[in-house]
């Protein structure tokens, strides 16, 4: 393992590369990039200890704009490249950058398997509910009936709910944030960084070109507080302009109620260790419910690379790695 080396404290701009950023004006990706640079700087880690791996899509250009190690791979396969990298160099801070098409369509298989393995990586899913780079086809998160270039009469595909999928696949850190809400986004990114295991972060990202305002109903400033609910461990689940709304549990179902209609004791308290509750929260969508932001769930489970490398060191302790012995095998004979 490489020793963490001495370096002066880094600033967000130290994490910017010399490459011109080429997203469309107004693209949500800019905001995420900026916040990620801040979060990276705040971790105190050296640039050389970050490896940012992406698939293909607009969002997957991300690594080029960071002055860390970066690898722009092929469509949908970033989790697999990250798997190999993490198994080779577990000490690195590995970030997978992916879009909804990249990780849920072509890479769906790798996504669920990364989550079940619980590699210690940070998986940032930029969800714009559309294919940006290929100019506007519907994605696995597009709402049913959505009219796009490839669905002129509306889609007939039922969408995925990324967070439910992640929880179902065994993710140990599940969170959501919004591209332009820098403060909560940064806190989620730092939470992901500090979590040991796969951190799955869905970021609502606006694509002004092909799917403008896809999340505006819940992310627009004037309505934000009514339509989003901030998740904080140990805090009651209340929301609204004056925090006048609350969530309660009614026979294994969530219900949004007026706070005044229930006793404080009835109000659900957020518990990031409660996976069942996280499932319920993941399925809350506007307009029936406010949409939760923040950390839905955080659990502890051994990581894939730790289990694998433990086996390696165990094997190394119990058996000598003698190449001659291996190549010669048990049954060899000599011809004079």
């Amino acid at each position: 393992m490489a020793e963490p080396h001495e370096h002066p404290p880094l600033k967000p701009k130290d994490f910017a590369s010399d490459q011109a950023v080429r997203w469309c004006p107004g693209c949500g990706d800019y905001a995420v990039l900026k916040t990620a640079q801040q979060a990276f700087a705040e971790t105190g880690r050296a640039r050389s200890e970050f490896a940012v791996i992406s698939g293909i899509g607009c969002s997957s250009r991300f690594p080029y704009y960071l002055s860390t190690y970066g690898f722009h791979t092929i469509h949908g396969r970033a989790p697999s490249v990250a798997l190999g990298l993490k198994v080779a160099r577990p000490e690195l801070s590995v970030w997978v950058i992916t879009g909804d098409g990249d990780s849920l369509s072509i890479g769906g298989n790798h996504t669920i398997h990364a989550l079940r393995r619980n590699l210690d990586i940070n998986f940032l899913l930029f969800n714009n509910r559309i294919y940006g780079l290929t100019k506007g086809q519907y994605s696995p998160t597009s709402e049913l009936g959505k009219v796009t270039k490839s669905s002129p009469m509306g889609t007939v595909d039922h969408p995925f709910d990324p967070l439910s999928l992640a929880l179902g696949a065994g993710a140990t850190f599940v969170a959501r944030s919004v591209d332009v809400q820098a403060k909560p986004l940064k806190s989620v990114l730092l939470g992901a960084y500090h979590h040991k295991g796969t951190s799955f972060v869905e970021i609502y990202q606006n694509c002004p070109i092909f799917n403008d305002d896809a999340f505006a109903v819940i992310t627009d400033k004037p309505v934000r507080t009514e339509r989003q609910i901030e998740l904080e461990h140990g805090k009651p689940l209340v929301y609204g302009k004056k925090q006048e709304m609350a969530l309660v549990l009614d026979r294994l179902r969530l219900r949004a109620v007026k706070r005044s209609d229930v006793s404080e004791a009835e109000i659900l308290v957020h518990d990031t260790a409660n996976r069942e509750q996280a499932f319920l929260l993941a399925q809350m969508h506007w307009p029936e419910f406010p949409e939760p932001m923040g950390v839905f769930y955080q659990g502890q489970r051994a990581t894939y690379e730790d289990l694998l490398l433990d086996q390696v060191s165990q094997a190394q302790k119990s058996k000598k790695a003698d190449l001659t012995e291996l190549v010669y095998g048990k049954n060899h004979w000599t011809v004079q």
């Binding site: 490489a2 080396h5 370096h7 490459q19 050296a46 640039r47 050389s48 200890e49 490896a51 791996i53 690594p63 080029y64 960071l66 002055s67 860390t68 190690y69 970066g70 690898f71 722009h72 791979t73 092929i74 396969r77 989790p79 697999s80 490249v81 990250a82 798997l83 190999g84 990298l85 993490k86 198994v87 080779a88 160099r89 000490e91 690195l92 298989n109 790798h110 398997h113 694998l308 490398l309 086996q311 390696v312 165990q314 094997a315 190394q316 119990s318 058996k319 000598k320 790695a321 190449l323 291996l326 190549v327 010669y328 095998g329 049954n331 060899h332 004979w333 000599t334 011809v335 004079q336």
Partner: protein, 621 residues
């Protein structure tokens, strides 16, 4: 069987015949343990010092209904006191455990050869399952063969009456009874197999003893009943001096990977997904964790090759293996590895295709896939071992090429090499490790790191994440020369395409020149690649023994080709190219060298027989 000298009768039995080689095929239902029986016969042949070659042949169905033609599993071994190169065209002895095994294998038997049958299995039901209209033991269909019928099932039962194992387990020992007879026939020692059984069933010693008893009973039966008028002796082969072991191609491939990684001082990260006949590479590597081998059983082939690339990016040796269909899935990622110029070893244990094809049979039809089966101009080195033992050498070499030249390298083996075994003269481990060199550690001295700067062989530096000061970005988009920044500049693209091609072409300076075996002044040259080597060598040696002038070139480096390949081809008046495909290498040679090579192709899921090769050439000699 080739007779040498007939020696005086010895012991209680009759004549002992010293022969130079013999081919024995064990065939039975896939539940009868024929692979184990054949494997043990092989180990014992190796133990007494014979040269040998094997051909396991199993059905694609794991457990077809017992007794049916679809369920027949066979194992052929050729063992000799002289150099041999193939498992043999025709068995001298067929051990058939049931009618289906007899029916499927009879066509390969020459008249006069010996057929050892389990008569207990020739019941009406089993005959029907084998689609026999009448009992071959009773009609005259086996006339001309030396048929030895033994009630193996009942004799085994009798022998194991006191053994204390269940009657089902008793019946399963009959393959060792048959093996015992075969051992008697060839005067083989029983002890190595007994030892093997004792360690295999260490946890159930009663099972080990039952099998040993069956083995002994079969041997005694042959001895006491004087089952055959003669028995045979195949003496130890006079192999070149050295230390030997018996090895299959897949085992040798694994050793090549482990040895290369160890000598390179790097972790081996292997991404795998099970597929016949490549799975054993994953199985074997998974047992080598103490060599810092990190195997990952991925969710699919795409993930496994990508994990290997990710590992190489991280400074480990990333490798992956599969067979045709899985390799097809990996190809996009091989293109990525070519573009980002990272080491990667991709092993293709070829099988019959297209699609799922003949999953348990051998073929060489993925050569063009390896050379051209990707998008864009994407040249990749391709090597092909010619024998099980060579799988070690060339896999080792492939790792070396991948790390030296920073590129993916294909290793093409096949089902026949993967599963067949042969005595392998072990390499000198000391010279092996000294042969290792990787010239470029991350070039930290570089001022302002340039990930696509190149050394004298056009390789770029291998800068590993975690190294301060070398931060850089790579990806599948076209790179600007030297800086590695994304570039769509037309002239730059052409330049980069040419550099990547020149880098691979340059490997021809590194690899050995093409050798020609046999008569260098002959008019006829036979060319092959990969596993056809044994049959081609046997055929050309045989032809030249009978006075024909003939030469043989086996191509092990298929991309780039050895630098003298054109000269070699042009030296001969007629050039035959033998392949287990529709004619893939022949296209390459014709196109590259404008030599009018004559294709000889077999696409039956089976290796060439020596007689087929001779028959194809003889009219032209």
């Amino acid at each position: 069987m080739q007779e040498n000298t007939e020696s005086a009768p010895s012991g209680a039995a009759k004549a002992e015949l010293v022969i130079r080689h013999a081919v024995v095929r064990f065939a039975g239902d896939s539940g009868d343990g024929m692979q184990v029986t054949g494997g043990q016969f092989t180990s014992t042949a190796a133990y007494v010092g014979n040269d040998l070659a094997t051909l396991p042949d199993f059905p694609a169905e794991i457990r077809a209904p017992a007794g049916t033609l679809a369920g027949v599993s066979a194992f052929q071994v050729n063992f000799a006191s002289e150099d041999i190169y193939t498992p043999g065209d025709e068995p001298d002895v067929l051990v058939a455990m049931n009618p289906a095994a007899l029916k499927l294998n009879l066509a390969d038997m020459r008249s006069g050869s010996t057929i050892l049958l389990n008569t207990d299995a020739f019941t009406r039901g089993d005959l029907a399952k084998a689609e026999y209209q009448s009992n071959p033991l009773e009609d005259d269909s086996l006339e001309g063969y030396q048929v030895v019928g033994v009630a193996m099932t009942s004799l085994t039962r009798k022998a194991l009456q006191e053994s204390g194992v269940s009657s089902k387990e008793r019946d399963r020992c009959k393959n060792f009874f048959a093996l015992g007879i075969a051992y008697w026939m060839f005067g083989r020692p029983l002890e190595p197999t007994a030892d093997w059984l004792r360690s295999k069933f260490a946890k159930r010693p009663e099972l080990a003893e039952a099998n040993i008893l069956a083995l002994q009973a079969g041997h005694n039966y042959g001895f006491n009943t004087e089952l055959l008028p003669v028995y045979f002796r195949v003496e130890a082969a006079r192999l070149p001096a050295g230390v030997y072991r018996n090895i299959t191609g897949n085992e040798a491939t694994v050793l090549g990977l482990v040895a290369a990684a160890k000598n390179a001082g790097r972790s081996l990260v292997y991404g795998g997904y099970p597929i016949t006949p490549a799975s054993d590479i994953l199985h074997e590597l998974a047992r080598q964790r103490h060599f810092d081998v990190r195997t990952i059983q991925c969710e699919d082939e795409i993930a496994s090759v990508c994990a290997a690339i990710g590992a190489s990016y991280g400074g480990a040796l990333g490798c992956t293996a599969s067979s045709g269909p899985g390799i097809a899935l990996k190809q996009e990622a091989v293109g990525l590895a070519t573009m980002v110029e990272l080491p990667l070893v991709v092993i293709n244990v070829q099988r019959g295709g297209p699609s799922t094809g003949l999953p348990t049979k051998t073929e060489q039809a993925d050569l063009l896939q390896a050379l051209y089966g990707r998008n864009g101009e994407c040249p990749v080195p391709v090597v092909a071992p010619a024998s099980a033992g060579e799988c070690f050498e060339l896999t080792y070499r492939a790792v070396w090429l991948a790390t030296r030249y920073m590129c993916p390298v294909f290793v093409l083996t096949d089902g026949y090499l993967a599963n067949g075994s042969e005595p392998w003269r072990l390499p000198d481990m000391a010279t092996l490790s000294m042969a290792w060199k990787t010239t470029h550690a991350a070039s930290e001295q570089m001022n302002g790191f340039a990930p696509y700067d190149r050394d004298e062989v056009l390789a770029r530096p291998w800068a590993v994440p975690g190294t301060p000061g070398l931060e850089h970005r790579i990806g599948g988009l076209e790179k600007q020369a030297i800086s590695g920044n994304v570039s769509y500049d037309p002239a730059n693209h052409q330049q980069m395409v040419e550099i990547r091609a020149a880098k691979i072409d340059g490997i021809s300076q590194e690899i050995p020149e093409q050798e020609v075996e046999g008569d260098a002044d002959a008019e006829v040259l036979v060319v092959g690649w990969g596993s056809t080597h044994g049959a081609l060598t046997a055929a050309t040696e045989h032809l030249s023994e009978s006075g024909h002038r003939i030469a043989h070139a086996q191509i092990r480096y298929l991309n780039p080709l050895p630098r003298n390949t054109g000269d070699v081809l042009r030296r001969f008046k007629r050039v035959f190219v033998f392949e287990l495909n529709g004619g893939q290498l022949v296209r390459l040679l014709r196109e590259r060298f404008l030599v009018d090579c004559i294709p000889v192709n077999k696409v039956q899921g089976q290796p060439f027989k020596v007689v087929e090769i001779e028959a194809a050439i003889k009219p032209h000699l």
